[in-house]
């Protein structure tokens, strides 16, 4: 018996010396597949998600320090552009400024009129936005996701699934929360999808991100009238995003004869990709005043908005009642005011 064992041992040790680390590699691969399975099956309160939260909390000071260091450099491009602006550009900017001043004055008039009418008719706003201002402290560490990291977390009342705005409109949704920081998936991320509508004709579709960073509005039927420049807003379907938040405008409409729907490309407003301060909507004060429920699973919630692509007649009626950028736009505007006033530190109600 022993004479048989000796050669076996020597061949095993020979193989080990020829392939050092093979056993460890096999163990690691098995562990990786187990981890993938556990992660895919667990909820957002599972052990791996919790460890992720802890790591996020531990590394958030480093991310914050990085963003502070990087901030002066991010302005270099603007400084260069401003310094090299020619006379024609400055003249055109002055003209644009004058036009915008006029527009602001007119909008102020409309706003006051709207407030008077609202008081008169005792019309309750469709929703109030209870929000939390936050500062962006980092972005994704990998090329596969378009996410940003903000300096507020579960300690400040943030939870998975909450919508995030900047001063231009909707930018994304909270997908991971640690005690002191949170990760936000941007709307132009490949995995992002949300219910949106064309402001002018109130037709609903699904707005998706893509690998190249552009936004595509799907499920808009060919019999609808869509033109370049149409404003896209959130439709409110699915209950995750409040209705009427501006997202962007249509820049390209393609009609494929073999398809039932348009291929529409949407561009976020100019400057909306510069994220420094954001506003997280912590509660949608709709008539029933229900806070945004934390997600069971991030992935499911990302797809949750996809689950209701159909155009709801009731929703369409109410949106028509709200008017063209009526309460929705005012909600977004008040949210923006909250963000600029709080400077990432206070909780405000827009």
């Amino acid at each position: 018996m022993s004479s048989f064992r000796m050669p076996q041992r020597s061949s095993r040790s020979k193989r080990d010396s020829q392939l050092p680390g093979l056993k460890i590699l096999i163990i690691c691969i098995v562990l990786c597949f187990i981890a993938m399975t556990v992660y895919a099956r667990e909820s957002s309160t599972g052990p791996i998600h919790r460890v992720k939260g802890v790591v996020g909390t531990v590394t958030s000071p480093l991310s914050h320090a990085g963003s502070v260091i990087a901030q002066p450099f991010s302005g270099i491009g603007n400084v260069y552009r401003n310094a090299t602006a020619d006379e024609a550009s400055l003249t055109s900017l002055e003209q644009e400024n004058a036009t915008l001043r006029g527009a602001v004055e007119r909008l102020e008039e409309y706003k006051q009129e709207s407030e008077r009418l609202e008081k008169l008719l005792n019309i309750k706003s469709t929703y109030n936005l209870k929000s939390q201002a936050a500062r962006v402290i980092g972005s994704t560490v990998d090329a596969w996701n378009r996410t940003i990291e903000i300096n507020k977390g579960s300690n400040d009342g943030l939870a998975v699934n909450m919508p995030v705005l900047n001063s231009y409109g909707l930018i994304g949704q909270v997908i991971e929360v640690s005690a002191t920081s949170a990760k936000v998936r941007l709307i132009n991320d490949e995995m992002s999808a949300l219910a949106a509508m064309i402001q002018s004709n109130r037709i609903e579709g699904i707005l998706r991100g893509s690998a190249d960073g552009s936004l595509k509005l799907d499920y808009i039927p060919l019999d609808a009238t869509v033109t370049t420049g149409d404003v896209i807003i959130t439709s409110g379907s699915g209950g995750v995003y409040p209705k009427g938040l501006p997202i962007g405008e249509v820049v390209n409409v393609e009609k494929d004869p073999s398809s039932l729907y348009y291929t529409i490309t949407v561009r976020p407003p100019a400057g909306s990709l510069a994220y420094e301060e954001v506003l997280v909507i912590t509660e949608l004060n709709s008539p029933d005043k229900q806070p945004i429920a934390p997600a069971e699973k991030t992935h499911e919630n990302a797809l949750g908005t996809q689950a209701s692509p159909s155009i709801q007649q009731g929703s369409q009626d109410s949106s028509e009642q709200a008017g063209q950028g009526g309460s929705g736009t005012s909600g977004a505007k008040s949210a923006t005011e909250g963000a600029s006033g709080s400077h990432g530190s206070t909780q405000g109600e827009g």
Partner: protein, 178 residues
């Protein structure tokens, strides 16, 4: 071949380098994005462990740093750990201390392994998240990611090769004088 003292000294150098690269990954990498691509500093650290210390150390470093990367990012957990474990093993498979003996193959290997990581990540991300077309991922994520990480790898490998060479030379001089 490489003595035990040398190996310990190299391990210390690599340990310090890994900490620096980890800090760079968290602090700097998110802010130096070019065309959607970020350099993967932890990949570079794993490659160095494989190149200098051999496949056993490479696998362990790959697994640990891969898990760290997965905890930091929003990609499905375990994907980067798998990729980096494989990179750590294969990079140190041929022989240890490749970095000092053949810088050229180490640098080419850096680009090849970076592409491998991007490819495997792409396949797993698509399979687990069900996103996008492979062509778009290839064009907008894999190629820029490979080039950016490969270039960062090139710089780090050249610096580390120099540091290791200088530490070897100092040690030999010390032996001669004694």
């Amino acid at each position: 071949m490489v003595s035990d003292i040398q190996k310990t000294s190299h391990a210390t150098t690599l340990f310090v380098t890994t900490i620096i690269l980890f800090v760079l990954q968290v602090m700097v990498a998110p802010h130096i994005q070019i065309a959607e691509a970020h350099p993967n500093m932890l990949f570079i650290a794993v490659l160095l462990w494989g190149y200098v210390q051999g496949s056993r150390s490479g696998v362990i470093a790959g697994f640990v740093l891969g898990v760290l990367f997965d905890l930091l990012s929003t990609t499905p957990f375990g994907v980067m750990a798998l990729c980096l474990s494989l990179v750590g093993y294969v990079s140190g498979y041929r022989q240890a201390n490749v970095i000092s003996q053949s810088k050229g193959s180490a640098l080419i290997g850096g680009f090849a392994f970076a592409f491998f990581v991007e490819l495997i990540s792409s396949i797993f991300n698509s399979a687990l998240n069900g996103t996008g077309s492979f062509f778009h991922s290839f064009l907008f994520k894999m190629i820029p990611g490979t080039l950016y990480t490969g270039l960062a790898c090139l710089i780090v490998i050249l610096i580390i090769a120099r540091v290791l060479e200088s530490s070897n030379t100092t040690r030999y001089k010390g032996v001669r004088y004694h």
